[in-house]
Symmetry: C2
Subunit: 172 residues, 2 copies
């Protein structure tokens, strides 16, 4: 079986080294807490206002303020800052905590679309940090898609999300 | 539904603050890489030699050397050292990566038994670090038991591991 990270690299087009180049620098020290809060606020403002109802509805069971806090606390912790997320919620356990949501290829691309816009329009994020973060986010989004598919192991075919959400089959 | 971390605290008897007191100090700087390698080597030597066949067999599909490396790289990364685990394997995704294994209450207790022995018999781990690590390990072991039970959501009762592995029902 192809590993989670191998699938993440293949589907995202981002290799492991580029995905974790966030660790070659301390982005928290470089950018500061407020920039992470601004980024997540910017991101979820777009998500909760998304004109695409199928995507917006994925977040309907969570309060926007909670989604923002969960996200920036995780980013801060993962990018060199204090472990805010674990102090409050424990291990990130990224795949398990995304289990309630349909993390399809299509949803990953929509998430990344909003995150790219959020990164572009949040002040004080330099181009180098932006690139590292985008690579990390892209790889992670598809890591979660790979994790989502674990839910369907030993399940009937109806477990799969609608066929429009599946990765197109390869022709080469 | 009770959250993963609430279950982990209840079943382990270790609250969130004590579990993540590993973050109040930099244990990697205090103990050094070799101590983490020694601890994991010591731990898995006990596990792979366990007289309890049911527990030993959980690890039979993995090479001992790989188990040691996965573990100490994760510990180093989580306890203030370089992100060795993610550079090689990506996100820890603790619950998803333990999915192939039957992480029952009984298995968690056996894991902790060996880890306590390993901590006691690995040189150069001071009492304070030992206590922080034990609390972290105990909470994490039961966090994984809580995660293991997610596998059985929407599954037939036969999905549950043998009744001898279940938490005794509460009488008070």
């Amino acid at each position: 079986m192809q590993s989670l990270q191998a699938k993440a690299s293949e589907w995202s087009g981002v290799n492991q080294d580029d995905a974790f180049a966030i660790d070659d620098d301390n982005l928290f020290q470089k950018l500061g807490l407020q920039t992470f809060i601004n980024l997540s606020t910017n991101f979820y403002t777009r998500v909760y206002d998304d004109e695409e109802e199928w995507f917006r509805s994925i977040f309907a069971s969570s309060k926007k303020e909670d989604a923002i806090q969960n996200q920036y606390e995780f980013f801060v912790q993962r990018m060199g800052g204090p472990p805010l997320y674990s102090q409050r919620k424990g291990h990130p356990a990224l795949i398990a905590r995304h289990r309630p949501f349909p993390v399809t290829h299509r949803a990953a691309e929509r998430w990344l679309h909003h995150m790219q816009q959020a990164l572009e329009s949040t002040p004080d994020i330099d181009a180098d940090s932006k690139l590292r973060m985008l690579n990390f986010f892209r790889h992670t989004a598809f890591f979660l898609v790979a994790g989502d598919e674990l839910k369907c192991q030993n399940q009937p075919p109806s477990c799969k999300h609608g066929s429009s959400n599946q990765l197109p089959s390869k022709t080469s």
